[in-house]
Symmetry: C3
Subunit: 307 residues, 3 copies
Amino acid sequence: MKLTKKDILGIKDLSVDEINLILDTAESFIEVSTREIKKVPTLRGKAVVNLFFEASTRTRTSFEIAGKRLSADTINISATTSSVVKGETLIDTARNLEAMNPDAIVIRHSAAGAPHMLARMVKQSIINAGDGAHEHPTQALLDMMTIREKKGKVSGLKVAIVGDIAHSRVARSNIYGLTKMGAHVIVAGPAMMIPRDVGRMGVTVHNSLEEAIKDVDIIMMLRIQLERQQQKIFPSLREYSNFFCLNRQNIKLAKEDVLVMHPGPINRGIEIAPDIADGPYSIILDQVTNGVAVRMALLYLLIGGQR
Amino acid sequence: MKLTKKDILGIKDLSVDEINLILDTAESFIEVSTREIKKVPTLRGKAVVNLFFEASTRTRTSFEIAGKRLSADTINISATTSSVVKGETLIDTARNLEAMNPDAIVIRHSAAGAPHMLARMVKQSIINAGDGAHEHPTQALLDMMTIREKKGKVSGLKVAIVGDIAHSRVARSNIYGLTKMGAHVIVAGPAMMIPRDVGRMGVTVHNSLEEAIKDVDIIMMLRIQLERQQQKIFPSLREYSNFFCLNRQNIKLAKEDVLVMHPGPINRGIEIAPDIADGPYSIILDQVTNGVAVRMALLYLLIGGQR
Amino acid sequence: MKLTKKDILGIKDLSVDEINLILDTAESFIEVSTREIKKVPTLRGKAVVNLFFEASTRTRTSFEIAGKRLSADTINISATTSSVVKGETLIDTARNLEAMNPDAIVIRHSAAGAPHMLARMVKQSIINAGDGAHEHPTQALLDMMTIREKKGKVSGLKVAIVGDIAHSRVARSNIYGLTKMGAHVIVAGPAMMIPRDVGRMGVTVHNSLEEAIKDVDIIMMLRIQLERQQQKIFPSLREYSNFFCLNRQNIKLAKEDVLVMHPGPINRGIEIAPDIADGPYSIILDQVTNGVAVRMALLYLLIGGQR
């Protein structure tokens, strides 16, 4: 099977078969990152542009390492040092990049839909590395890959996602993906952080961490975005933490073999207790490792030519 | 024929033969960027430093892609993240880079003459990627390449350059180049944006867009530098736009097969109407594509060794 | 002989044999940087992350060039554009990088001990590129390499280090290294810039430049950190310069064949007169050249596998 899409814009657009193809391909790349020589010539002569309008270490670095392991050339453009400061529109930036003939453009942007606009406009493959509060498909893919790796399947599992569901692209992409793959998704967070229509996405809603994580196989904690605190979405960090921090007490409510995930960066002691983040339930660093493999898989499937 | 120069500092220093050699070489590289594997081993083991003291997406990216397509290693240094913040002089930065033995240094700097000082001081090949309001030779070369590609020649054409001529390194380099290559250059802009002695550069001067573009083959619109507006060089953007925006009405004054160029980034609706920028006359994106080829040609001719 | 260490954290931890191994290896790499094709395939498929929490042109560029000359992939992360702005701890940044499986991490950080913490935490090789006022081992190694190259030996030489000894990681690393290698080290600076216990490090202390450099073989001038002037460590630049600027008068007190070094960036006319920095005694640019070779040697010895 081949991926017939030009772009990866969101999990919403992917079929179950496509998700499985991506995860299978990613699994086959895991081995490359453990070799003495961590490099295959698959994408030699291809160029991948990382166009980041929001700061990010881990995602940009993960894509850069993924590209380089496949022998692609990688070109980083960050908004702060770019001609975007001269007031150029995203449209013109995109058309200009297109004219330079790279093979793929990875974009992170604060505006929902920015990657989709790019994808309609340019001939290159576009990968959404996070657009506003909309989608973050590579995160959801690496999350599903990690769940599948650790639990042997996704279907039938109970997965709780806890935090600011309403403003989280990680939550949204995972809800699309996990429900498609047959998991039962439960979301929880303070009332103001739960989107009104989330029930229509096929998830169960709770306003308490304790209820949400009861008997679940997976707990996915979301990062509280401290920079949003001024907007008074939640009363205080302390109060948030009192009710929604995953710790060694409340985790006992979940299944005995529960696994804990987090997209990072972690706020230790706010949404997750340090001993949970670093403890035996945590598969947070497996997520990071699998992130490189998933991104290798996407670059390979989109621009790797005939298999 | 070989390029015997060590550096490319400005179009003023180039002979007609040298310009033709560069354009011919660039043409031969166009094909590489359209291959499945967009890479040739020509500059393997060579290192190109992009030393940018002014923000720039397109020029830096264009040089970086050009270098990588030739298999050179590229190293980016931007002033904001460099030890220039520690107060090091350009001279010391240059001497230090020289001591690390790269093969070429591409420099953009707000001070006219900065690349020339570098060229005198270090043994490496220097390419001027824009120095103050002085020269921007790679832009003029890609412009001439694009004109030649579309019109079959440069000689004998009528080319109007419209905008802030006095403060534009793009205008200056193009005036040197186009007049050398036998084109008839007309410049236009508000009185305060026309250099007093521009007539001595062999161009015709007009203060009206309409007069300037009458019967021309090529219209080159310059970017109004919004960041300069505080300096009150022009009364208001609206007023500028009323008199000097190229639109579907006034473009009828030019030849029927007129072509429209712009160095970017574009201010849509200020110096150029959106339907002109994106319309059938526009060869703006061809300029961008040719930019990569011109920069590949320069790197190849300067540091590619014996042919 | 092989280097059995996982990391290079400081000169304090290195034996004389280890220092000699590194310098010998670096010498063998000098030749690579002078070739037509400045590249060897030694580290093909290896990835080196440059993790810089402080701005630096020369050190980051030197490591990047060193990595690329050995065919390693290099990934730059600077704190200002990284998720460190989201408040992630150094620990989590490190663990995340580790999970992406690079081979070495080069770190510069304003906190003394940051590289050591990293080294304990991750499996990758860590190279300290400067930690606070603590150590800057690659600088000391390139300094010793340069002295050995020019004088044929380090042992028995008299070396004066002049400036803000107390806050200089360059001074500290050189004191460890030079005394180990058998040199006699003299330090000098205003009283407030001399650490109280420096005598215990096996050096001679003077409060006058003139006394310090008398009959020495090497003078190493330190950079006055202008950004620290507000802290009133010294009364005024003019006063500092009056007493501690190396110039054509006072240099006559040193041996006739004295050599002058400086880690850069130079403050011309403050700690060193321009005609001394650029004059015949100066080996400042040899230091820069040797810096690339020393960094190639360290990358090779740490992650280059069996010889």
